[in-house]
């Protein structure tokens, strides 16, 4: 770091609000695409596990293995195939959401009480109606808890995708390190953290809205 520089130069922050806004949009987009696609894939795989419990071990094994690969290593492994692209970034980001999302969707649906399921079937719900009108709504609290964890960890991982040229708040961190400029570094880190906290708070609100029955009257 340059001698005599203050830790944060507020004039730099004031002069770069436009860029901060642009990085915010990039960061949110990268995260939303990853969690969105991850959720669709995880939901399909979770339903498969519910229907065929034998598939639980292999699916958990594959998604668990993906989860253990260090993110930077995964991006590097993908570059020869998909280049420094959005696709490379999203393949990695989506992979990391699967384990937690599948686990929570399965746990949520399996947690629906047996008497509720028996009543639903006994009243004449078809299996499909029962899934969408009873099982999924009742699993919602646990499912959203999974989405929260996946979203926060994705927001963290998106900062790494700056290394493969995908922007987001990680870009500030990257440039800050290259130029020994602490202001940019701190802005990148602080914005990532703030975004994670804000996203989590929004999801908590969403969960409360979607599951009014869990609140005491």
């Amino acid at each position: 770091m340059t001698e005599g520089e203050p830790l944060i130069r507020w004039d730099w922050v004031a002069g770069h609000l436009d860029e901060i806004g642009q990085r915010l949009v990039e960061h949110v987009e990268l995260t939303a695409i990853a969690v969105g696609i991850g959720f669709v894939i995880a939901f399909g795989l979770a339903l498969l596990i519910i229907r065929r419990p034998r598939l639980e071990s292999p699916i958990t094994f594959v998604t668990g293995t993906l989860y253990t690969i260090p993110s930077l290593a995964l991006f590097v492994l993908l570059i020869p195939y998909t280049g420094l692209s959005l696709l490379t970034a999203e393949i990695g980001l989506v992979s990391y959401t699967l384990l937690i999302l599948i686990r929570n969707i399965v746990r949520g649906i399996r947690g629906v009480p047996a008497d509720v399921l028996e009543a639903a079937t006994g009243m004449g719900y078809t299996p499909r109606e029962r899934l969408w009108r009873v099982e999924v709504p009742l699993a919602l609290a646990v499912i959203i808890a999974g989405v929260r964890v996946a979203t926060i960890s994705t927001i963290g991982l998106v900062t790494v995708t700056a290394l493969i040229g995908q922007g987001g708040f990680g870009y500030f961190i990257l440039i800050g390190i290259q130029r020994f400029f602490s202001t940019e570094l701190i802005v990148g880190a602080a914005c990532s953290v703030a975004l994670a906290i804000a996203a989590d708070a929004l999801l908590v609100l969403l969960q409360r809205r979607l599951t009014p029955w869990t609140r005491p009257a």
């Binding site: 009543a119 079937t121 006994g122 009243m123 919602l140 009014p212 029955w213």
Partner: protein, 323 residues
């Protein structure tokens, strides 16, 4: 839909699992509009039998007919929408309000919003839940007894000709249970629904049943009205199951008006401690009153009019009689 129950017939129904027979060639008919209680110790096959009616369990052999139609010939979900179903844990949907819960089958049947709303209000009132107060609540905000009332309302929503109840009052306290039992009788008489009701409680069976089917080890041991079951248990198992106090239990089914009343006894000559009983009281109540008062005779009074005297000896005769 007709405002009356359907006939339910079990014909040689058998359910065999890999290592055991749960229900063994069960045959009996529940007449339309009657309450039939399936009673027996655990493992007797009563719940399995009940669940074969709405095809939650499929029989291995034999068939069940509702108004002459074989249930296995109908699509299971369509069949179930025409059969009310109440279970012990109630199984209300926790994420839906009481109104939404009660509306379950009408929604599945595609009723109009207006028709559903008026039906829900009518049903909540029928089961004794004030619609304005309870309709917008969630199940978690209700007591056990209130939840079971909502469960009954939900089962009756689409005016089913048959209602299946699997130990519905098993998890509520005795006082609430007794009230729910009386209300079930009132509602059933009002609607004329045929009810198949599973319990392991013989007192509940005698109180509620028009017919009682006693089961043991998957077999039907006796199928009779409660009075006959108490007067003539088919074998030692039934005698033991109904209890050594079956004579007393029978008195609860008989009224003072049905007993032999001595009209020659003048009221003035009665023991001054003699309790006053009504012709509509049960003999069991009359006996209790007499034992409490210390008198061996009771004055039977209908409205304001003295009818005659009831003696302990006549009550004893009723216990022994084959009536």
């Amino acid at each position: 839909m007709p405002d009356r129950g359907a006939t339910v017939e079990f014909r040689e129904v058998t359910k065999r699992y890999a290592d055991q027979i749960a229900v063994d060639r069960l045959s009996f008919t529940v007449p339309a509009g009657k309450i039939c209680i399936l009673v027996g110790p655990s493992g007797s096959g009563k719940t399995t039998s009940l669940k074969m009616v709405n095809r939650l369990i499929e029989p291995t052999a034999g068939a069940i007919f509702i108004d002459g139609h074989d249930v296995t010939q109908e699509e299971p979900t369509r069949l179930r929408r025409r059969i009310g179903y109440v279970i012990q844990q109630v199984g209300l949907f926790p994420h839906q309000t009481i109104a939404e819960n009660v509306a379950t089958v009408p929604v599945l049947l595609g009723w109009t919003k207006q028709r559903i709303a008026s039906r829900v209000t009518e049903l909540l009132a029928l089961v004794g839940l004030d619609p304005a107060r309870y309709a917008p609540r969630y199940p978690a905000q209700l007591s056990g007894g209130e939840r079971q009332r909502a469960g009954v309302a939900r089962a009756l929503a689409a005016e089913p000709p048959v209602m299946l109840m699997d130990e519905p009052f098993g998890a509520v306290d005795p006082i609430v249970r007794e009230r729910l039992q009386s209300e079930l009788l009132r509602i059933q008489r009002e609607l004329g629904t045929t009810v198949l009701f599973v319990t392991h409680d013989i007192d509940e069976a005698i109180r509620l049943g028009d017919r009682v089917a006693v089961m043991r080890g998957g077999k039907l041991v006796q199928y009779a009205p409660p009075g006959e079951l108490l007067a003539h248990p088919a074998n030692d198992f039934v005698a033991q199951f109904v209890g050594s106090d079956r004579g007393l239990k029978r008195l609860a089914l008989l009224t003072v008006g049905g007993a032999e009343i001595d009209v020659t006894v003048d009221r003035g000559s009665l023991d001054p401690r003699a309790p006053v009983v009504r012709p509509s009281s049960t003999l069991r109540d009359a006996l209790a009153r007499m034992l409490e008062s210390g008198s061996v005779i009771a004055a039977v009074v209908d409205g304001d009019r003295y009818v005659g005297a009831l003696t302990l000896a006549k009550i004893g005769k009723m216990i022994r009689s084959d009536a």
